[in-house]
């Protein structure tokens, strides 16, 4: 298993007449951890869907190690790209271990049984998310956070060269948020992860892409991207950014109220940020 290069080249996505993502380009070099941030409804999930081959781009290309993801057979792509999606499965009595074992499917012939190597990979994947104790428990009886960790383990068992995660820290308590993101950092794979929490994104990602209204507003190392001016423009919040003395990562503190406390809508860049994005108004969109 090695790390793959991901190139999203001027991708536009639509759902019916609605434009989800417009002309977005993104590059992840092998081994990088790329964070995708932005308000609710900014197109993060849609862009990820185009990468893991569920939402077909209207224009533009998604390339994994140079190959067009959308012209590869689904199964071939699944040997390279794994994903943790925001969707719950049916309740049909699988144990956590059996859910993780699904991740081995793209590497198996249809009638092949699970080998000792598979069992080892499944165990290692569970260990990586502190999930060894969950292995034999029924998946549908786990808590939201435990399920999320099992789903991440499933993606790890797939041995991806590119791992795509849609808000993997949802439902996790703070300790497991740190554990999971730490595990992602240690992976030999390239990682593309959508995150709500800007401070986590700043601490764990090599570079960030900020999406707003389906377009890339900024990209670069966290320290360059996370500025009070950008946070005001994209999220419509007042925030201070400092460098954390221990980690060296930028640290965002949100302040009560809106930027320009007179509630006058003439914001810095003049874009109708707050009003056009109901989910992104104030701090309400962040915690859900």
């Amino acid at each position: 298993m090695s790390a793959a290069e991901l190139v999203v080249d001027r991708v536009t996505l639509t759902a019916g007449a609605r434009r989800l993502v417009a002309d977005v380009s993104l590059t992840a070099r092998p081994g990088e951890v790329i964070g995708l941030v932005g308000p609710n409804g900014s197109g993060k999930s849609s862009l990820l869907r185009a990468v893991y081959r569920v939402l077909r781009p209207d224009t533009g290309r998604v390339r994994v190690d140079g190959a067009d993801a959308w012209s590869l057979p689904v199964r071939r792509l699944a040997r390279t790209v794994a994903a943790v999606v925001q969707e719950s499965g049916a309740d049909l009595d699988l144990t956590a271990r059996e859910v993780v074992a699904m991740g081995r499917t793209p590497h198996k012939r249809l009638l092949a049984g699970d080998t000792a190597e598979d069992a080892e990979l499944i165990g290692a994947a569970l260990d990586a998310v502190d999930g060894a104790g969950l292995a034999d428990r029924p998946f549908d009886r786990l808590s939201g956070g435990e399920r999320q960790r099992v789903l991440i383990a499933r993606a790890l068992a797939q041995q991806p060269a590119l791992l795509v995660l849609d808000e993997p820290t949802n439902h996790l308590d703070i300790r497991h948020q740190l554990d999971v993101l730490g595990a992602l950092r240690r992976l030999p794979a390239t990682v593309l992860v959508a995150l709500h929490d800007l401070n986590l994104a700043a601490s764990y990602c090599d570079r960030l892409y900020v999406l707003c209204d389906g377009e890339v507003t900024a990209c670069g190392p966290p320290a360059e991207v996370l500025t009070p001016r950008l946070l005001a423009e994209v999220y419509g919040v007042d925030a201070e950014v400092a460098v954390h003395p221990r980690t060296g990562a930028p640290q965002v503190t949100f302040l009560p109220g809106r930027p320009g406390t007179d509630a006058a809508p003439d914001l810095p860049a003049g874009r109708a940020v707050a009003s056009a994005e109901p989910g992104g108004v104030g701090g309400l969109g962040l915690g859900r």
Binding site: Y52, A78, L94, T105, P138, R141, N170
Partner: protein, 371 residues
């Protein structure tokens, strides 16, 4: 400030030491399959022995062994009994076993394909579609494919009904239990009404009664010649589904997740729908629409072997066979000499089971789920 590095990570790990609710043991599957096979053999023996003329089990085995050419010693039973066991009861019992196994397997597959634990050929209107197809052939007497016309029409009807229910139940990529069951009920109601209309307006009055009895599901009046097609359909169904078991598992994870694990969901589902309709159509053509076997068996079996389809499919097949053999024994003995359609009995068991399942799902839905 609180430096995060000083956290002690020991406590949460210890808190995980809850007893596992259920651990499907690897050894449990062979044991379960063995137990079910023994049970099936015993059930078939009972099916051959029990009836208006009782034949002792030992004699049943003697007759069967003799017929198979295993035992060449001269028979010490009457010809009449041999006829009863071999020509009257055996085809009927075997059709029951084949139909039960087939319906259970089809139900298992449908529950994964539409990602809903309440899915089942009868409840989804698939059986009604098959019935309508078959009855149309009987009433209009069209036989394009000769003796295969009946199953062929049943297959077409089943596929049509399944696609219709699936299309109406699906909104925005999701199928909720409520919509699925309502679509199934509505489609089944319309198809059954059409079927009744056909029967009432046909001038072949003497056939109507026979067809009506068939629409309630029954295994009576079967001869050896009618067995090969359902048997073939069952083998095809189990074979293909076992090969696809890993992919059926993937569907449990959700459609998007299944795609990311290498399954072309739309194509796979279309193919499996055709297979499921084919098996259902052939079985309904032979035995009439028998409900709830396909609903109950997968759930009961999952309690013992877990949800992995590589385990569920063979166990459900054996369980379904056992269940329907016994249901048929009951159907012909409970009100003897009158015979109750076996579909009536399976509905008597299945209806309450369905309600229990619905309540269980509602409970799970309210306690689980994202916080």
């Amino acid at each position: 400030m609180t430096p995060p590095a000083t956290r002690a990570p020991a406590a949460p790990a210890a808190a995980r030491q809850e007893p596992a609710a259920r651990t499907p043991d690897r050894r449990a599957l062979p044991l379960t399959l063995l137990a079910l096979t023994v049970l099936l053999l015993a059930s078939v023996t009972a099916g051959l022995a029990i009836g208006s003329v009782r034949v002792p089990p030992g004699e049943v085995w003697g007759i069967v062994a003799h017929a198979l050419g295993v035992d060449r010693s001269p028979p010490d039973w009457s010809r009449a009994r041999e006829t009863i066991v071999l020509d009257v009861r055996a085809p009927r019992v075997l059709l029951g076993a084949v139909t039960g196994a087939g319906l259970a397997v089809v139900g298992t597959a449908l529950q994964a394909l539409v990602r809903n634990p309440l899915a089942e050929p009868y409840l989804l209107g698939v059986s009604s579609g098959a019935s309508l197809g078959a009855v149309a052939v009987l009433v209009f007497g069209v036989g394009v494919f000769g003796p295969l016309s009946l199953p062929a029409a049943a297959f077409a009807g089943a596929l049509g009904a399944l696609l219709l229910v699936y299309a109406t139940a699906r909104t925005g990529g999701r199928i909720t239990s409520v919509r699925l069951v309502l679509s199934g009920v509505a489609v089944a109601a319309v198809l059954t009404a059409l079927l009744d209309l056909l029967l009432l307006t046909t001038d072949r009055g003497n056939e109507t009664r026979a067809v009506l009895a068939w629409t309630l599901g029954g295994l009576g009046g079967v001869d050896w010649g009618m067995l090969w097609l359902p048997g073939l359909a069952l083998l095809l169904g189990i074979g293909v589904l076992l090969v696809q078991a890993r992919n059926l598992n993937l569907l449990l994870a959700g459609e998007e997740a299944a795609t990311t694990m290498g399954l072309d969901v739309a194509r796979f589902r279309a193919r499996m729908f055709v297979l499921v309709s084919l098996v259902t159509g052939v079985l309904v053509a032979a035995a009439g629409p028998i409900g709830f076997v396909g609903l109950m068996m997968p759930h009961i079996v999952r309690l013992f072997v877990g949800g992995d389809h590589r385990r569920v499919l063979p166990a459900a097949a054996l369980g379904g066979a056992v269940f329907l053999v016994w249901a048929d024994i009951a159907a012909r003995t409970v009100a003897a000499p009158m015979e109750i359609p076996v579909g009536v009995l399976t509905a008597l068991c299945g209806g309450p089971f369905f309600l229990w399942l619905m309540r269980r799902d509602a409970r799970r839905g309210s306690e689980g789920g994202p916080a």
